[in-house]
């Protein structure tokens, strides 16, 4: 359990996300079993795949980390070189708002603001900077994600792949301390997906923060993941390098 890849040992920042969460996320009724998230895990800097079939509690876990849902009990904290930022602690009554957590979260639906241009979407989280700084940061990130030509267009005027890139750019430009990706690439063809994954990996090499990437594609898990957390029925079934998935005879292998 919890094997550390060489890449992560080299990591310059030793950020890690400490999770201890219980959360009932579907009530038992009419004989159907209820689901309860009950896990204890550490997410290191770098890309960790959150793997599991639908209903395993992946999205609920991400919502709890981001502060969109309150866990029933437990603790969510970010540890960084001896310092700790506590996001949630049921014993001490801590629960800071999503806006204060500085967590990047890209939903499966992307949630780009439909009434704002690509530029305005990307600058949305940079309100504290002055205009010139905003423009500069926006130009940098759009270039990194190869969408510098989209600027004045609205989300419904660009392609699906471009929307995914803009959604990633909008989140990453704010310099999040943790990144949560809930199957953001599930609707794309393989070619487009691979290109975006390369961009994401390039960003990951530059800025080592804990990234939780939800997928139920073993191929994606093997290709992208430095670590894997395999979630089943709300608990951690296995945790380690992507190869551990082979032991569990996951369908697509």
């Amino acid at each position: 359990m919890n094997q550390v890849s060489p890449l992560q040992e080299k990591a310059r920042a030793a950020d890690r996300l400490l999770l201890r969460i219980t959360k009932q996320f579907a009530k038992a009724r009419n004989g159907a079993a209820g689901f309860c998230l009950d896990l204890n895990a550490t997410v290191l800097a770098g890309i960790t795949i959150l793997f599991g079939r639908s209903g395993a509690g992946k999205s609920t876990l991400l919502d709890c980390i981001a502060g969109l849902l309150p866990p029933d009990s437990g603790r969510v904290a970010l540890g960084s070189e001896g310092e700790e930022t506590v996001f949630f602690d049921s014993e001490k009554g801590v629960n800071i708002t999503p806006a204060q957590r500085r967590i990047g979260y890209v939903f499966q639906s992307l949630a780009l603001f439909p009434h704002l241009t690509v530029n305005a979407n990307v600058e949305y989280g940079l309100v504290r900077l002055d205009r010139e700084q905003r423009r500069q940061r926006r130009a940098e990130i759009l270039q990194l994600f190869h969408c510098d030509s989209l600027g004045e267009r609205k989300p419904d005027e660009i392609s699906g792949g471009e929307r995914q890139r803009v959604a990633l750019a909008r989140t990453l430009v704010t310099g999040p301390r943790i990144l949560l990706l809930d199957e953001p690439l599930s609707a794309l063809d393989v070619g487009t997906k691979l290109k975006i994954l390369e961009d994401l990996q390039a960003w990951n090499r530059r800025r080592r923060i804990p990234i939780l990437y939800v997928t139920h594609s073993p191929a994606e898990a093997m290709r992208l993941g430095e670590n894997v957390i395999y979630l089943e029925d709300g608990g951690v079934l296995a945790q380690g390098k992507p190869e551990i998935l082979r032991q569990y005879a996951v369908d697509e292998f």
Binding site: L68, A111, F113, P114, H115, G125, V127, K154, D156, T171
Partner: protein, 224 residues
């Protein structure tokens, strides 16, 4: 044409619409996003003017806010304000009577905004106020326009509440609908016809403008 009544009516409708936007936005926001158990009670209260005859509202208004009423006596003592048979009183009563016409479209608009967009805004560091001003309100723009126009149009066509609360004082509370009633009572059909026709055409033009605007807003992608 009775210009005095027309101008008074427009002044009343504009004032009431403006007050309803100011009251309606926070109230609709609360109804759309609150998770209080007793929310349904507030929703029912807001919807009451839809089912009650204006005479009931007017009656309790006079009872409560009249000089002898509990609230009315207090208002008079502290602020020297009298509400019955004044323009201010007409505004207060009309605001209450048109409340659902402003609040319900706004609630529908706010509730139709994708919750993921609101979550995304918060995750990007935006305060609730910023999220409301930059995301929720722009995406409910057509609902806001509908709310304003329905409030305006509903006040324009009001009769019962005005008669109960405002009476029939020229230049103060005699609105165009009251003037028409007066004309008909006095068998003054030519004058009644002029005023009625004006109201008819004016209402039609206003409503057409709104529907045209909503159509355009739809095509430029303001609505999802």
């Amino acid at each position: 044409m009775n210009w005095q009544a027309i101008i008074l009516t427009l002044r009343l409708a504009l004032t009431v619409s403006a007050v309803l936007v100011i009251i309606g936005l926070p109230l609709a926001y609360w109804i759309a996003f609150s998770r209080r158990r007793w929310k349904f009670l507030v929703e029912s209260l807001v919807a009451m003017p839809l089912v009650l005859p204006p005479t009931v509202l007017g009656f309790y208004f006079l009872l409560l806010l009249g000089r002898g009423g509990a609230v009315g006596a207090w208002l008079n003592r502290i602020f020297g304000v009298t509400l019955p048979f004044t323009f201010a009183g007409l505004v207060v009563a009309s605001v209450l009577y048109s409340l659902p016409f402003a609040v319900q479209p706004l609630v529908a608009g706010f509730a139709s905004v994708d919750r993921k967009l609101i979550a995304a805004s918060a995750l990007l560091g935006a305060s609730r106020t910023r999220t409301f001003l930059r995301v929720v309100l722009p995406l409910s723009l057509t609902h806001l326009i509908t709310a304003v126009v329905l409030s305006f149009a509903h006040t324009l066509g009001e009769f019962g509440v005005v008669l109960m609360v405002g009476g029939n004082i020229p230049g103060v509370t005699r609105t165009i609908s009251i003037a028409i009633y007066d004309d008909v009572q006095a068998l003054n059909y030519a004058s009644a016809n002029q005023n009625a026709l004006f109201l008819l055409i004016f209402s039609f033009v206003i409503l057409s403008l709104v529907y045209a605007l909503n159509r355009r807003a739809f095509f430029i992608g303001t609505v999802q």
